[in-house]
Subunit: 137 residues, 2 copies
């Protein structure tokens, strides 16, 4: 990875940018981060990776998510083609969400992140303690 390939200074009014301009506003990675860079998107995608699930089940099982953020995030994920929404006209209506192949691809890429967290977050916690001690002097 060299300087000129991974970076760019100004990158105005571009919707498709060449590989590697990760720090410019309109590069694919920035678009991804602006969209699913939040924890609820990632957690919901992970959840639906286990199998389709209804709104209320998602709400129960993704610890701490508000109904508003759940609805909002699901709609964004659906719009992005990462999940599908299926309405069954029962009474009361039941709505099922499922991951798409595209979503599953993304989840695959996220799995490395999850694995890293599982094994290395303890090191991060340690680093925090050390930092706080240094700064408390």
């Amino acid at each position: 990875m060299q300087d000129g390939t991974f970076l760019s200074l100004d990158y105005p009014n571009v919707t498709t940018s060449k590989r590697g301009d990760v720090f410019a506003r309109n590069c694919p990675t920035r678009q991804l981060l602006d969209r699913v860079g939040d924890k609820w998107s990632i957690l919901l995608l992970g959840m639906l990776g286990e199998g389709e699930m209804r709104f209320s089940a998602l709400k129960r099982r993704v610890d701490g998510i508000s109904q508003k953020m759940l609805a909002q995030t699901l709609r964004t994920l659906e719009r992005d083609g990462l999940i599908t929404r299926h309405v069954e006209p029962t009474v009361p209506v039941s709505v099922t969400y499922a991951i798409t192949p595209l979503g599953r691809e993304l989840l695959g890429a996220l799995q490395w992140l999850i694995d890293w967290a599982e094994t290395r977050m303890s090191a991060v916690a340690q680093a925090q303690v050390a930092y706080d001690l240094r700064m408390a002097v």
Copy 2:
């Protein structure tokens, strides 16, 4: 990935949790997402992955970051042991940030995400257009 291993309902007052409880508040992945789940952390880590860099250089090259968020995010990353901060007592003072081995590990895991974005964000964009057309009817 099965139901009981990846999930958990309530997970109160736990700082170390067993592998896989990705949706509980105190699992490692949630901790990671709460911390470096924001785009600035990821972008700065990616930037410093290319080599050490000074505050002003980071500000110039990470498109759109404010000075406040830059300072704030760098301090969090330093506290987490993902980057280091070195002050050279020149005049004016020059401060250099560099990635740590731990940070580089995390960056490695993030690379899969970046790669996915580079190749598949166009599919996401397409899905958006299709969704907006469906909904406009």
